[in-house]
Symmetry: C2
Subunit: 524 residues, 2 copies
């Protein structure tokens, strides 16, 4: 007597979710609509997949980005047709720049409904193309498992990228007999293609060398090897201005950062005769400015490439150390622990930075979208206990609150501190509600200068006239003033306002010890 | 002695703004960034152009949509690179479906900077394509005036569409001698191509005829002629489910509306043997449902087309009346004035509808994104004083608060009432701040059922199982509950919460008499 395989019917959505889970995609950030109801019904039947609701898709995709950076694997998103995807595009742009792996599942009208051009019909592939490394519109219910496996495989490709899988509603609701989930092939980083002898020659030349680093050179094994390389050769490790994820703090190798403003970046790099690119590209300025070069590599500086994103940077660093005859184990230039003293008196960005550096919990995750308010923060925290630091990689503001949300979902045992500019906070404030619903341990510090202060700086830098009242109005948030305490409590997040350094210090100490989300509006 | 023309240098941005103003584009909704600073500097020099700051681009484009519907002409938007445009896409989708004319000016990196792939670099044309009827990336500072004129001309084309003009920063900041602004050619509606004899035959056949209407058939002269046609022939005028702008209320011809749910729409249309399409397309269901037809025209019903969007509908209606021998002046089936009585007791959507119908100010503008909470609203207001009514045309939620903002900018002497579902409100809540800054006379009524209630209905309708806890969590906003009073006051808008019909009535009467924006959170 032989048992028959279970032949209970499943829907296409069930098959897709089973394959996602089979490939270790076990978290779904979503804001669904009618065309996704069968996917939601399938989620209802599959408790292995954690579902997290966002009240706006910018929060959904930004959370998936923060999750991917910390979990090192993709989450899936579930988005409602073209407009749902469109609302998530800015944070998908940031995720693309962060090389975050992600699987977007975007609902589409039923295959036979699409040609009727109903009101919500849009060119979903068109919206997806600028941010996606891989796009597929499902064409058959039978292939949903293989479509899902292909989407996961694509998300893991290279240094990590965005897959967008478009799922027509009738394929999601179609029923068929159960089938086995499909496996995505394991991902391999590319071997490096560097001329190690030339790079070793530069490092041994006695001429000043900068190692411009990002990606796998600033976390885990890569960071350890990088520290060893810098310490042994006297080269300076300089991180890109904006990094997806960097491990830093006491006990870790020191990495300087390339300044944001082009003139300062040029000044920083002018000291070097060799630039070694490790898991990054040659440096360029963030914006163009009249009369300022956009390419930041100094004249007469030789550029070498060890690796680019998607390459096996740790292996390349190991090989380079071997060529140099440097043992892998040894002094890595680890930073000695030191917490800055608290500041008293008026509240300003320096006082906030001191408070964060002073109280930063061990293994905290810092999500930095503080803009001008955060310029002093890296220095104040560099010798604080070891922590992870996530930047705004793509310049599309509104990443901070969502990314903090996703990072907290990925790392439930770690405190997340979100350094958040006020203007940027208003882009995706809705993600605070998700923090409240999921009771995430996130402390948000709003740098409330009530302006797009960076624009007030940039207005002069691009060579525009002194701004008049009308121009200033386009860069100011002070009429009326935003009340972030009201905004946060309106979404279920405990909040308080501080106006002195003493109050800031006390509030931060309290918030970091309080479970669940909270917010400090720091008036600066 | 002859005077020389003024040869003061101007920037490319000045030239573009001068041409926009010359073509009656005098309002700019914006959230600018560094690459737009020279455009902002030029706005500073040009007080004729009204600038309105939004704290998120969904609010910017949605305001430009509401403005265009009421002003009958395009505003321009000023958006920051690809991500700024991306944030505005969902409301551009709605604007596209509303046939709203609009000129987007999207900043781009300097021409020489673009190839460097700096962090904010993105495929702007790619983002723009799904929503734009016309796209151009400016390639020469000399052509900015003609580019601007072409963008305005394109926005006015057909029934109205979206132009996207992409402006590299170095063209905006380049200086040249002043030049005359360029004129966009005047727009002409297309002549109809209908077989008037056949349509007149159907209308005279004695068989039941429905006139399915939208666009220029539901405002102004078209509406008057439509009323005359229906009244003289006994045909029933039925508006599309979602209409960009309809003039309604006491003294205006009655127009039924096609129900949202496919089964009800099919039932409504089943009574007719002829369907005459006037400034619209054949009816299709909003979503596909298993086992329900997506095309709503009944079997055996003959479809006639009088006009489609972009045609000269008033002229076609006049000609049709002439063929029928019906005088243009005469009974239009005007609705007699009647305000519903106020309701007492528990607060529910019917009580809110009664309050709105009872208090609706003459010439109010109603922006309807109430979703399930608003189903009773059309009936309760149909005989209230004459007003305009704007719907969510594209199904991309988050249109209401921004469109109300733009409508109030277009019509400063009229009260705007925004019927707003809570879930949808959270998409673009930031536009409340713009209402506060501009002190707009907008009253927002939040239908706070603390759910995506439409999804709870649709979940069953698509044939999914009864939702379990996990599925319900994806459709509920009740954990934690949103506090819209806190959210609104946090952005400078006065707000109150009501839980009984009596309180609702009193609050609405008070709000409608109070200048500036206010908000009522109606717990239902």
């Amino acid at each position: 007597m032989s048992a028959q395989p279970d032949s209970t019917n499943i829907t296409g959505a069930d098959a897709l979710i089973a394959t996602l889970l089979h490939n270790d995609v076990d978290t779904c950030f979503t804001n669904p609509g009618t065309s996704e109801m069968h996917f939601v019904a399938a989620l209802d039947r599959e408790p292995q997949m954690r579902c997290v609701l966002g009240l706006f898709e910018g929060g959904v995709t930004g959370a998936a980005d923060g999750y991917a950076r910390m979990a090192g694997k993709p989450a899936c998103t579930l988005l409602h047709l073209g407009p749902g995807l469109a609302n998530g595009l800015a944070n998908l742009h940031n995720a693309r720049r962060a090389h975050s792996p992600m699987v977007n599942v975007v609902g589409e009208h039923a295959t036979y409904h699409r040609r009727l051009d109903a009101p919500l019909t849009a060119d979903i592939e068109g919206f997806a193309r600028p941010v996606s490394g891989w796009i597929r519109t499902c064409s058959s219910a039978e292939h949903l498992a293989s479509d899902g496996a292909a989407a996961v495989a694509a998300a893991r490709q290279g240094a990590g990228q965005i897959s967008t899988l478009i799922l027509p509603a009738d394929l999601a609701w179609s029923e068929r007999s159960a089938q086995a989930p499909e496996s995505a092939p394991a991902h391999q980083l590319r071997p490096h293609r560097a001329d190690l002898t030339a790079i070793a020659g530069a490092l041994s030349s006695g001429e000043p060398v900068a190692l411009l680093v990002n990606g796998r050179a600033v976390i885990g094994e890569g960071l350890e090897l990088l520290g060893r390389l810098a310490q042994a050769t006297g080269a300076t490790a300089i991180g890109d201005t904006f990094i997806s994820r960097v491990e830093r703090g006491a006990g870790r190798p020191a990495i300087r950062r390339l300044p944001y403003f082009a003139e300062q970046a040029i000044e920083t790099l002018s000291a070097y005769r060799h630039l070694v690119l490790i898991d990054t590209q040659a440096p360029v300025s963030f914006f163009a400015y009249p009369g300022v070069p956009s390419e930041l590599t100094p004249a007469g500086c030789t550029v070498h490439r060890l690796t680019e994103p998607g390459d096996d940077t740790p292996a390349a660093l190991r090989e380079l150390l071997a060529v140099l005859g440097v043992p892998e184990v040894g002094d890595r230039g680890a930073i000695s622990a030191h917490r800055p003293d608290l500041v008293r008196g008026p509240l300003n960005p320096a006082a906030i930075a001191a408070a964060v550096g002073h109280y930063l919990p061990e293994h905290a995750i810092v999500v930095n979208e503080a803009a001008t308010g955060g310029f002093g923060m890296p220095g104040a925290t560099i010798a604080s206990p070891p922590h992870d630091w996530l930047d705004l990689t793509g310049g599309a503001i509104g990443m901070g609150i969502p990314a903090a949300t996703g990072a907290a979902i990925a790392c439930p045992d770690r405190r997340v501190i979100n350094l958040q500019a006020d203007g940027s906070a208003m882009y995706t404030l809705q993600a605070l509600w998700t923090q409240a619903r999921e009771q995430l341990d996130v402390t948000t510090i709003i740098f409330a200068n009530r302006a797009y202060a960076i624009l007030q700086v940039e207005f002069a830098r691009v060579g525009a006239h002194n701004p008049g009242r009308r121009a200033m109005d386009m860069m100011s948030l002070d009429r009326p003033e935003l009340d972030f305490v009201a905004l946060a409590t309106g979404m279920g997040v405990a909040a308080e306002r501080v106006t002195t350094a003493e109050d800031m210090n006390a509030a931060l100490a309290r918030c970091l010890e309080t479970p669940g989300p909270n917010l400090i509006e720091a008036i600066i």
